[in-house]
Structures are given as C-alpha cells and as structure tokens.
C-alpha cells in the first residue's frame, strides 16, 4: 500500500519527529499540489496554498491517530485550504465588484499567453477543461497527471477502490476528449460547415 519509507516517515511525523515531517512533506507535496490545482480558485497562487498546507501539516500531523490515514487527511487539508481561499477571494472581490453584482475575477495563470508551441497551448486547454470537470472526475485526472503516481496511490489518496479510480479516469478522459472536440469545432466554423 505505502512504501516502507513513507510508513516510517508517517509514523515518525505523528510522533513529532521533525526530520520525518520534512521527509514526509517532500514525499507528498507533488500530489498535494495537484489537488490544490484541481480545487483552487483561478487567481489564487498555488504557492500560498502549498505553504498553508505545509504549515498545517507541521502543526497538526501529530494529532493523527493512524499514520495510515495521512493521505486522506492531507487531501482534506488541501481541499479545505483551496475552498477557504475561494471564499476569502469572494469577500475581497466584493470590494472591487462592478456594482452590478458581477465580480471582477483575477487573471488565471493558466490563461496567460505563453511562448510555447502548440503542445503547450493544447496542454493549457486540457488543464482548463480538466479543472472544469465535476470533482469526482477532476481529482483522479489531475493526480494521474503527476508523473509516477500509480492507480494504487491515487486510490489511497482518494480512499476509493482502484476499479473506481480507473473508471473515473476513463470517464474523465472521455469528457475531456468531447470538450476538446467541441472546442475545436467551435473554433473551426468553416470546417463544420463543410461537413454539413
């Protein structure tokens, strides 16, 4: 289920071993970042949320009774941090609202034009679509986009059976594929007319 190192770090962290906490954070920070990316508001910085989760982990990990529950706990902390940031942003945005009820959203770092090639542009669009999926599909897809994260590890983090992770991934990819196809059609009206 978990690697021996991960179990050792988790146990040490729960017992308050600072080195274990440091090591544990390094083991988990990448997928935590993916969870934050899946849930965070567009204009909230990932770095701020990561720091928040890290502080929470350092401060509260010793309260975990079962080191095996670390992944779900970290996931809950990350989602909570992202959602809290969303609520906070809403309050702040009211100050700069337009007065007609609309809230001026900040720029999305993913929508900032880059100097990349077509593949980067496609990646950006894919990420946008992935982040718009329902949460149960968005999460496994974002986690799977982390290199080296297996179905088993995703299942552990999400507390789901592997088969469910697999089917949700397949569903997510179908939705992304269809959304990409629709977007392509919309951006190529001439092509659509030719087909009809």
């Amino acid at each position: 289920m978990h690697s021996p190192d991960e179990r050792r770090f988790a146990t040490g962290a729960v017992l308050g071993d600072q080195d274990a906490i440091t090591a544990l954070w390094r083991v988990h920070r990448r997928w935590i970042a993916a969870i934050l990316l899946a849930y965070k508001p567009r204009d909230v910085e990932l770095e701020d949320l990561l720091q928040e989760v890290a502080v929470k982990m350092v401060r509260d990990v010793h309260r975990l009774k079962d080191p095996g529950a670390l992944r779900p706990w970290l996931r809950a902390v990350a989602i909570n941090a992202a959602r809290t940031a969303g609520r906070r942003r809403k309050v702040r945005s009211q100050v700069v609202s337009t007065g007609d009820g609309r809230i001026l959203d900040g720029p999305d770092e993913a929508s900032i034009p880059g100097e990349g090639d077509g593949s980067r542009e496609e990646g950006r669009r894919l990420l946008e679509i992935a982040r718009a999926l329902p949460a149960e599909y968005r999460e496994p897809l974002m986690l799977r986009a982390i290199r080296g994260l297996s179905y088993r590890q995703i299942a552990d983090a999400l507390e789901l059976p592997i088969t469910t992770v697999e089917t949700r991934l397949a569903r997510a990819r179908r939705m992304v594929r269809e959304a990409m196809s629709e977007a392509t059609t919309e951006h190529s009206p001439g092509l659509a007319e030719d087909k009809s």
């Binding site: 600072q18 906490i21 440091t22 544990l24 954070w25 390094r26 920070r29 990448r30 935590i32 970042a33 993916a34 990316l37 910085e45 990932l46 770095e47 701020d48 990561l50 720091q51 928040e52 890290a54 502080v55 929470k56 350092v58 401060r59 809290t84 906070r88 309050v91 702040r92 100050v95 700069v96 770092e109 993913a110 593949s119 980067r120 496609e122 990646g123 950006r124 894919l126 990420l127 992935a130 897809l141 974002m142 799977r144 986009a145 982390i146 290199r147 297996s150 179905y151 059976p161 088969t163 469910t164 697999e166 089917t167 991934l169 397949a170 569903r171 990819r173 179908r174 992304v176 594929r177």
Partner: protein
C-alpha cells in the same frame, strides 16, 4: 466501433457505457496495463484499426496535460516543511492563513511605522545589529531644532542592512521569520542576464488593540481587501 461490454466482478464499479477499449487504452496510457490487457487491446485493434489511432490520441493528450500540470506544480519543490518547524504556531500560522501578501504588506507597514516613530525605531543596538559596525549618523528633515538624527546606511550594501534588520528584529522578538521570496516579473537585459522583481516576505509579530490599526489596505498587487473588525454588541438593525 466501440461496443459497451459487461464487466466482471473486478470491474463492477464500471458504469454508464464505458467501453472495454476505453479502459484498456487508459491502462496502457497510464502504464498500468498487464500482458493480458495488451493482448486484448491488440485483438481489438485487429478488428478496428481506429483503436490504435485512439490510443495514440489518448497518449498525446495525456502527455500534454501531464507536462502542463508538472510545469504548474513545479513550485512545490521550493516549499520545504523544515523551514516552518520553528514557526509553526502563532503568528506564522495566521500569516499562512492570510497568505503571503499579508506578510509583504506587513513589511511595508513595519518600514513605514519605523519611519514615523523616528530615531528609536531605527536606532540599532546590540551586538547583532548592523549599526554595531558604525554606520554614520545623518540628519533628516524638519525645521531647525527639530531635526532628527537617524543612522545612514548608504555605506552598506542592502543585503547587509537587510540581514541586520532581521537579526535585530529576531533579537527583539519582532521578526518571526522569513518566507520564500515571491516572484513578480522579469525582463531580459541586453547582456543576456535578467532583471527580476521579487517581494521579500518577512513575518513579523505585532501587538495591536484594533485590527485596522495596522492600516493594511491593499495586497501586493494593490487590490483592496477587508480587515474584519468584531461587530459591536448590538443588533444588526441598531448598527445600521
């Protein structure tokens, strides 16, 4: 053409029309396919040449998404838990909750407050302070007789003065710690180097009677934000 299939018990979580082909392509794309999965996919491909095209498309899209996500989360490699141990309670927690912009704003307020408070707040003292090395004093502003003497740091490089500020702040229990610099922007110089704008973030401990005493009105981007004040113990109607 894809056909919906019935799944065995191991796959009983499958739902609403997913095809075996989609599952197999997913496994291959994710590096989770068994030899049996490969064999099954090859059988499907012999019946429908489009299977391999769809596999290639799935792999290409996965690679593009993976690269984008990896790029986005690369920042996490800079966040270390070790640096947070000592400051994992109290002020830093609150700063962490508020976000890095609060710390940056606090630095600005600290500097401003120091200037307002005059010589004492800037007067270095103690062995850890940069002024121990004897920055010359200068006179600033004011009418005759009201001139204030403050240290002049012109002869020291900014990093030295900055370090001295941190050491002095920690000694006087004012500076709690330093958070990672925040990147703002950059531009390329003619000589191939880059000019980078960053915000340095110092976490500071302040004792105030009222939250709005700090007068933090904007974050580092200039966006206004609210400082919550406890509501007076009156009914909403009275308050209005």
């Amino acid at each position: 053409m894809n056909t919906s299939i019935s799944f065995n018990n191991d796959d009983n979580a499958f739902e609403d029309g997913l095809t075996r082909e989609e599952i197999l392509i997913g496994r291959v794309t994710d590096g989770e396919a068994s030899p049996n999965d490969w064999a099954e996919l090859q059988r499907l491909a012999r019946q429908d040449a489009g299977v391999l095209e769809r596999l290639a498309e799935a792999q290409r899209m996965h690679a593009a998404l993976e690269q984008t996500v990896e790029d986005r989360i690369a920042i996490c490699e800079l966040i270390e838990a070790r640096a947070l141990h000592r400051e994992s309670s109290g002020v830093l927690m609150r700063i962490g909750t508020l976000g890095g912009w609060a710390a940056a704003a606090a630095l600005g307020v600290m500097w401003w407050t120091g200037m307002q408070q005059g010589p004492q707040s800037l007067q270095p003292n103690g062995s850890s302070n940069v002024a121990q090395h004897g920055p010359p004093a200068g006179t600033v502003g004011g009418e005759e007789g009201e001139a204030q003497t403050i240290p002049v740091f012109d002869n020291y490089d900014p990093d030295t003065v900055y370090s001295g500020y941190l050491r002095s702040g920690m000694k006087h229990d004012r500076v709690v710690g330093v958070m990672p610099d925040k990147f703002i922007n950059y531009r390329a110089n003619d000589d191939g180097t880059f000019e980078v704008l960053i915000v340095r973030q110092i976490v500071e401990r302040r004792q105030v009677n009222r939250l709005n005493q700090l007068d933090l009105q904007a974050d580092e981007l200039g966006n206004p934000f609210l400082v919550k004040e406890p509501m007076p113990a009156r009914g909403r109607r009275d308050a209005m």
